[in-house]
């Protein structure tokens, strides 16, 4: 408990003392203490399920704590709902934006903070106030545009404006950078710094060490519902924080040798996929995937990566162009479904594990054979061989350290990381020559990330051709040997992993990079 100031010391914006909260048998927060000095940026870091969001939801009045006290500006308060929180000057920017998409920026800002029954006055007041806030903090947003027409970075600004408009002096941001490009993240950080300089207290919840180091003044680490450490950011480093989060030493960057690529396993030529409105989601994409290499596809989520994976794995139909595995070519006239693609040796770890990867209501052993459920091993003449399936599941669970190691537990009851490990185990167990992996570590804890990354690299070293789609730049940079960037369905550039950094990838993701005539990519 370093740097913990006492409740009575001057300039404390938030003081939590002995907060506990249980959901049924799960203790989400136990005896949590936290002190945030006024006018600082305070990071709260921890793995998924460490209790960060619960703690902030208590502060914002979504949940009531079972015990403990909350002090705001050194006064004891009781926050029972969002209204109380707003009244005490707390504003929250949620991970999933709380905006009405079909409303204008102005209407969203006014909602719940209107000045009278008729909107006319509210509109006038909001317009003046927004202009002021815009000037003061550099929060530029076109106030009459509809939310659905704005990029996510600007939508997030609307959330911040909403909080400030309600007079928030303490701003909580829950995983704010998950949906942003690196450039948008930098802009957000500039805004947060401007807010701090004007005396606003910022609490930043994240699981990304880089962000904590980049912007916070102090950091508190949570693990399993408890506060395990408080540090001044300048006096700590990534390794220490990672260790505190996980409770053991972890490597934050995957170890790997240089790739030894061999023959081409998958050749994609001018592939396009049109959606129901005839818009090209994948637009004329060509790439080669060779045995023994990992090709990473980077890009802001929603730029055609998902559709590309779905087309290659046989879920989505090819509209134009083709791709070839060995001597088999798949195009619009020669489609193959997901089963046929698997039979050709293409394994797929889908991006959305709860919808495509497994059936949440199935037991683990049932989920563990999805896609391979026709195998002789699992089927008798009429009935399935449940014994074999359970044994098989137990074996792959053991190989991939899936916890708890219980084949009969419902798939939904595993943590995200363990669900993901189960899917990876299923897809990797047959040593497929081609592996497509989408967002392998989305929502996965740092400890499990390390393991998953090791497994993917081991597959590559064993000669598998791996296509990796991820929105996490750190992940792409540490795993991939070559990186392709997708923007609006097109591949806008390719770069060797050892030449890539966040800045250049960020520019490529926004299609704002320059390519020299010999293919060199520069800022």
């Amino acid at each position: 408990m370093t740097n913990q100031s006492s409740p009575s010391s001057a300039g404390t914006a938030i003081e939590l003392s002995g907060i506990s909260k249980a959901f049924g048998p799960v203790q989400a927060n136990s005896d949590v203490n936290l002190s945030v000095p006024k006018g600082t940026i305070h990071g709260i870091i921890g793995e998924n399920g460490a209790g960060k969001s619960t703690l902030m939801s208590i502060l914002y009045g979504f949940y009531e704590a079972d015990s403990g006290e909350v002090f705001v500006n050194e006064k004891k308060v009781s926050i029972r709902n969002s209204n109380d929180a707003i009244a005490t000057g707390i504003g929250m920017v949620h991970q999933h934006f709380m905006l009405v998409d079909t409303f204008s920026v102005l209407e969203n800002v006014m909602l719940g903070a209107e000045s009278g029954e008729v909107l006319k006055d509210s509109i006038k007041k909001a317009e003046t106030e927004l202009t002021r806030l815009e000037k003061e903090y550099g929060l530029h947003v076109p106030i009459h545009s509809l939310i659905e027409d704005l990029p996510v970075g600007q939508q997030q600004r609307v959330e911040i404006l909403k909080a400030l408009y309600r007079g928030a002096e303490i701003l909580i941001l829950d995983e704010p950078t998950g949906v942003l490009t690196p450039q948008e993240t930098d802009q957000l950080f500039k805004i947060l710094e401007a807010l701090r300089d004007q005396g606003v207290t910022v609490i930043l919840i994240t699981h990304k060490l880089r962000e904590i180091m980049a912007i916070t003044d102090n950091v508190s680490v949570m693990r399993h519902g408890t506060m395990v450490a408080h540090r001044k950011t300048s006096e700590t480093d990534r390794e220490e924080l990672a260790e505190l989060m996980v409770g053991r030493k972890v490597r934050t960057k995957a170890d790997k040798q240089k790739a030894q690529p061999k023959e081409t396993k998958l050749k994609v030529e001018n592939l396009s996929v049109f959606d129901q409105f005839n818009v090209a989601r994948v637009d004329n994409v060509s790439l080669d995937l060779r045995a023994g290499e990992i090709v990473g596809i980077a890009g802001v989520s929603g730029n055609g990566q998902s559709e590309l994976l779905e087309a290659l794995s046989g879920i989505e139909a090819v509209s134009k162009g083709s791709f070839t595995l060995g001597d088999i070519t798949i195009d619009a006239d020669n489609p193959k479904n997901a089963k046929e693609m698997r039979d050709l040796g293409l394994a797929h770890v889908p991006e959305d594990r709860l919808h495509l990867g497994l059936v949440p209501s199935f037991s683990a052993h049932e989920s563990s054979i999805l896609g391979y459920h026709r195998d002789k091993e699992f089927n008798g003449p009429i009935l399935s061989k449940v014994g074999n399936i359970v044994n098989y599941c137990a074996r792959i669970m053991n190989d991939f350290d899936v916890r708890p190691q219980d084949p009969s537990l419902k798939s939904a009851n595993f943590s995200g990381g363990n669900q993901q490990k189960l899917i990876l185990a299923r897809e990797m167990d047959r040593d497929p020559p081609i592996l497509l992996v989408g967002q392998p570590t989305r929502g996965v804890d740092i400890g499990a990330i390390e393991f998953i990354h090791q497994q993917i690299i081991a597959m590559r070293d064993a000669g598998c051709a791996v296509l990796l789609v991820s929105v996490e730049l750190e992940e792409i940079m540490s795993l991939a040997d070559r990186i392709l960037v997708m923007f609006e369905g097109r591949v806008v550039g390719e770069i060797e992993a050892d030449k890539a950094d966040e800045k250049i990838l960020g520019l490529m993701m926004a299609n704002a990079h320059k390519t020299s005539p010999d293919g060199e990519i520069t800022a």
Partner: protein, 325 residues
């Protein structure tokens, strides 16, 4: 020429009369659907409140008292719908269908028990109904061809509820788009979570919307049995609640366009009434009125099948709001 103008005016006059309950129901549906609650029970509320209006008017002799009873019944049914769907997160379509079945059966049972006329209510005398109102200068303007006639014969001479219904359209539009209530109403149907985090009660908003819905449906029911007709007849709503719902969807959940859709349905209905028993010129056969009567329903199916472009409903419609965990 003279003849066709007379026919045209009488058809337009009829259009307004038959559109009135549709407009009232469509506005009622607009409030609840904009707040995120599907209201298929417009039909049942219309029917039940028509019964209540006729029965109470017959007993008291005052259509106004009858209308109060109609509103009370319709309001209660709306609250019942809310209790099932908003408080207990029930399925909104199932609850709506249940109300419709309840209304269809109970009105007949109660009708037989109270009046012993096979489920009908006794015919109301003229002074126990909403009667036509002559607008000022109607008689004087009737002599001016067309425009004057339009005023005197189409616009003037309806009962008060017709004027109320059409007046409610701009009022609804103003409430929905220009007031705080409207802003919150629209927000709660699009993203209730955003409303919740803004410190506004989602359920309270949905109940308020249903309250307005109940009142408007009650007026529509009273119109049906004490203004347009002079008694309650079993199943007299005849699908008009559903037609209003369809009009609301064609109108893309906007008051003015929904009203236009109601008028279109009304016009078809009025034409069907006007052509009753008319011979097709030059032949011995009657105009197939049943076909024309079926037109609104056929049109509903065709238009809903996608001929009006995509109608984008409020995003959260039909989904009960449950806080996470």
């Amino acid at each position: 020429m003279e003849q066709s103008i007379v026919i045209l005016l009488s058809v337009l006059d009829g259009t307004l009369r038959v559109s009135t309950p549709l407009v009232l129901c469509a506005m009622a549906g607009l409030f609840s659907e904009r707040s995120g609650t599907v209201d298929i029970s417009l039909e049942g509320k219309l029917l039940f409140s028509a019964f209540a209006a006729a029965a109470v008017t017959y007993v008291t002799g005052s259509p106004w008292v009858g209308m109060v009873a109609a509103i009370a019944i319709s309001f209660s049914l709306s609250m019942l719908h809310g209790f099932a769907c908003v408080t207990h997160n029930g399925n909104q379509v199932v609850s709506g269908v249940a109300i419709n079945i309840l209304a269809s059966g109970l009105t007949v049972v109660l009708g037989i028990a109270f009046f012993r006329q096979g489920g009908q209510t006794p015919t109301l005398p003229k002074d126990a109904r909403f009667t036509p109102i002559e607008l000022p200068f109607a008689e004087a303007l009737d002599s001016i061809p067309f425009i004057g006639q339009l005023y005197a014969q189409v616009i003037s001479g309806h009962n008060i509820l017709v004027y109320l219904a059409f007046l409610l359209v701009p009022i609804t539009s103003w409430i929905v788009f220009k007031t705080r209530f409207g802003l919150r109403l629209r927000a709660v149907g699009e993203n209730p979570k955003a409303v919740d985090t803004a410190g506004i009660g989602v359920r309270a908003m949905r109940y308020k919307a249903l309250a307005v819905n109940g009142v408007l449906c009650g007026i529509a029911g009273a119109y049906l049995s004490t203004a347009q007709n002079a008694a309650f007849v079993r199943e007299m709503s005849a699908g008009q609640g559903y037609i209003a719902l369809a009009a609301l969807i064609f109108g893309k959940w906007r008051p003015k366009t929904a009203m236009l859709a109601c008028l279109m349905f009304g016009l078809l209905d009025a034409i069907a009434i006007r052509l009753q028993g008319v011979m097709i010129p030059g032949t011995e056969t009657e105009v197939p009125v049943t076909l024309i009567q079926a037109l609104p329903y056929i049109l509903t199916v065709i238009l809903l099948a996608g001929f009006i472009g995509k109608a984008i409903p409020p995003k959260a419609i039909g989904i009960p709001y449950v806080k996470e965990r």
